[in-house]
């Protein structure tokens, strides 16, 4: 760096520090933006898989009329099945304050200690729950403002209101947070279910296939054979659910949201690239004469080119030094938000090395790529072209045509014609400026449109609902009776009765 040419480089950087700072900030912001969402995506995707696969998820849930130990043993020993377990899901309601109820979904686990299909992880308090107590998903307690040891009032379809003690919490990463679904998730033994007024008989068989457990076709084939066998054994198969194998139930939503953000980040990157190109172009216009002088005193094109390329690399490194750590930190923060939204436990917020590499390469290569053409054009210019002032130029004829055309516009004054001539004098610069403005405008409009689209979708969804309150009964009731009751309730304008019945598609392959 003792060489005068490198001193010139550093002092040029200093003398144009405003322009350079703006360029570094533009690139750093785009790297920050891409870094945030790329690192969030990689962390969230990895941790989501880790959380979900850590539960040893079932390949299929088969709802039968009954599931007993003998059946579980027989299914476990079948070819193509690696594991089988019994469970039940029972809906109900919890009284969260006097006469205020919230839906409850109870997962019945015959043996918490030995359960190893679609498991839950102990979080706090007792595990397994003692008889006549309940474990709740960890997000339930803050939602209901309860603590371990408190009691919760639960009523199942066939039972009466019963208080049951919360003996601990678990983490069930396959479920959305309780606050999001406004549902109480509880985990109980069959004996506790019986205490709540339901039968002890379990009715769902969880199975994991042994061959190609992440191939939906292979799972369907194995489960179809199993269903035929179950029917042959006299069981009634009500429904078979095959979740996307190895994929968290909310993985596609997360991917969609982060991909949307990433697209915006890359748009920001494109914008910063155009901005950088505009600035580099402006800088080189100022440097043209100096390039000519350097060539006149013996500089080769390669020497001058490398000088400006190093300048751009230095700017890229500066932008990366700012953008990469901030982007990674923001990505980690954003992953925390995703984890909260999707009820995930972040075991590690490590960002893969390739993300760092991609971001650093982006920070250096993108300004280099956009600068390469103007730098090559500027440094390949001959000494005469940079120094002469004869008014003789290669595009003299094109300029004359343009100027002639402009001169014929009678109703413009000379100042305006001068401004127009200057605007069109350097077409490359004009195109860059227009690209910058149009890209920025397009990006802004895209953002506004996406926001407006989402808002319109939500408004439409709210408008299509056409009601303010939904009341669900735990047993069928007479429509007339309800209508006559509601008619006497002040403020009720209109009511409509609906009935919901779960159904399943009956396929030829028994699925």
């Amino acid at each position: 760096m003792n060489s005068p040419r490198w001193k010139k480089l550093l002092r040029d950087l200093q003398s144009a520090r405003g322009r350079m700072a703006m360029m570094v900030i533009a690139i750093a912001v785009s790297i920050f933006s891409v870094g945030t969402f790329l690192s969030a995506y990689t962390i969230a995707r990895r941790e989501m898989s880790r959380n979900y696969l850590g539960t040893n998820p079932a390949s299929a849930f088969i709802e039968l009329d009954r599931v007993d130990d003998a059946l579980v043993k027989a299914v476990s020993e079948r070819e193509g099945i690696s594991e089988a377990e019994a469970t039940s899901w029972v809906g109900g309601r919890a009284e969260i304050s006097p006469n205020e109820w919230m839906p409850v979904l109870l997962f019945v686990v015959p043996d918490f200690e030995t359960s190893h299909v679609s498991t839950v992880a102990p979080d706090a308090g007792a595990y397994p729950p003692s008889e006549q107590t309940i474990l709740v998903e960890r997000e339930v307690l803050p939602m209901l403002d309860l603590n371990i040891g408190d009691a919760i009032t639960i009523q199942t379809p066939n039972g009466t209101k019963q208080q049951i003690k919360i003996s601990g919490t678990v983490h069930d990463p396959a479920l959305a947070p309780a606050w999001q679904e406004q549902t109480v998730y509880g985990y109980i033994t069959p004996a506790t279910l019986a205490m709540l007024g339901e039968g002890e008989t379990l009715n769902i068989l969880k199975v994991i296939v042994s061959d190609e457990p992440y191939n939906v076709t292979a799972i369907e084939s194995t489960v179809s054979e199993l269903a035929v066998w179950l029917k042959a054994q006299g069981y009634v198969v009500h429904e078979i659910r095959i979740p996307p194998p190895g994929r968290h139930p909310h993985q596609s939503q997360m991917t969609s949201v982060i991909t949307l953000f990433l697209v915006f980040s890359f748009m920001a990157l494109l914008l910063s690239a155009i901005l950088s190109a505009t600035m580099i172009n402006g800088l080189l216009v100022q440097q043209i004469r100096q390039i000519g002088i350097m060539k006149a005193i013996g500089a080769r094109t390669l020497q001058i080119t490398s000088l400006y390329l190093v300048l751009i690399v230095l700017l890229g490194i500066a932008a990366s030094l700012i953008g990469v750590p901030l982007g990674i930190a923001a990505g980690r923060g954003f992953t925390g938000v995703i984890a909260q939204l999707l009820n995930l436990e972040i075991y590690s917020d490590a960002v893969p090395a390739w993300v760092y590499l991609v971001l650093i390469l982006m920070g250096i290569l993108i300004p280099l790529l956009v600068a390469l053409d103007p730098i090559l054009k500027a440094t390949r210019i001959t000494v005469r072209e940079t120094l002469n002032d004869y008014g003789i130029s290669r595009d003299a004829s094109a300029s004359s045509l343009r100027d002639g055309w402009l001169s014929r516009i009678r109703f413009f004054d000379n100042t305006l014609i001068l401004a127009l001539r200057n605007t069109f004098r350097r077409r490359g610069r004009l195109i860059l400026t227009l690209s910058l403005l149009s890209s920025a405008g397009a990006m802004f409009m895209t953002g506004i449109n996406v926001r407006a689209g989402w808002q319109a979708y939500l408004d439409q969804a709210a408008a299509d609902r056409h009601y303010d309150l939904e009341i669900r009964f735990n047993a069928p009731v007479s429509t007339e009776q309800v209508d006559s009751l509601l008619a006497n309730v002040p403020g009720v304008e209109k009511s409509e009765a609906w009935s919901l019945t779960p159904a399943a598609l009956n396929r030829r392959d028994a699925l």
């Binding site: 013996g298 020497q303 001959t382 003299a396």
Partner: protein
């Protein structure tokens, strides 16, 4: 100092040749302009020997600057041949020309053209840096000795903007000598200076010619003729006289 430096193998030595240092044979230069083809030089023949201080005079547009651009390799002839110190300048590409020019021609411009972000001394070291002449640790010492020669050594560490016009032109002359070239070409170097400063600058060039360097200078100023050993007058792209003093 000059003798010691010139003896180093990486510095192009003054050629010992019988032929003139500068030789132009039927050099023409045409430019394409909106009105058609413009002939800036018309089959010009010219010679200059080592130690000559040659003035190139003529009206604006007569082809003076084009002529010296042919000699420095800043521009290439449309036809004809240019030889400088035995080198066929017309046959070289831009990259070869840059290296050749850096080592063999010192160029002095009317508006000095020092790089504004480098100090005066750094401006003088720059041609040595680009052409890789002289050992790195000797370059500043050489720059200072050249500044002493043009009598502005005390300005070595100032930026060009802190110098007067005359001092800047002296610095530019020192820069032109950085690689010890046999030929100095100056395009109206006194055009921007007052008469006293012009005289001082001209005396510097005359001294250089007296030391054996060939100095070729474009000028409009007739009252400087006393410094030249010869003048070449151009009109409409042709040499109209080559007058010995």
């Amino acid at each position: 100092m000059e003798t010691r430096l010139a003896s180093q193998k990486h510095v192009m030595a003054m050629p010992v040749v019988e032929r003139p240092l500068i030789e132009l044979r039927k050099v023409s230069k045409a430019y394409n302009v909106a009105a058609g083809k413009f002939l800036a030089l018309k089959e010009v023949d010219m010679q200059a020997d080592a130690g000559e201080f040659v003035a190139v005079v003529g009206k604006s547009g007569s082809g003076k600057s084009t002529l010296i651009n042919m000699i420095t390799g800043i521009d290439t002839p449309t036809s004809g041949e240019v030889f400088v110190a035995g080198t066929a300048v017309h046959a070289m590409d831009q990259e070869q020309l840059a290296v050749w020019r850096g080592r063999n021609v010192g160029v002095v411009f009317q508006f000095f053209q020092l790089l504004p972000t480098l100090t005066v001394a750094e401006n003088i070291v720059l041609p040595m840096d680009f052409c890789n002449t002289f050992p790195v640790n000797e370059r500043r010492e050489r720059a200072i000795s050249l500044l002493e020669k043009v009598r502005i050594a005390e300005q070595a560490d100032k930026l060009p903007a802190d110098l007067s016009g005359g001092q800047q032109q002296r610095a530019a002359i020192a820069r032109s000598l950085a690689n010890n070239p046999p030929l100095i070409v100056a395009d109206e170097p006194t055009g921007n200076l007052d008469s006293a400063t012009s005289d001082a600058v001209m005396q510097l060039f005359a001294n250089l010619a007296a030391e054996g360097k060939t100095v070729l200078m474009v000028t409009h100023e007739r009252d400087l003729s006393r410094f030249f050993t010869r003048s070449i007058a151009l009109a409409d792209g042709s040499i109209v006289n080559g007058r010995e003093k």
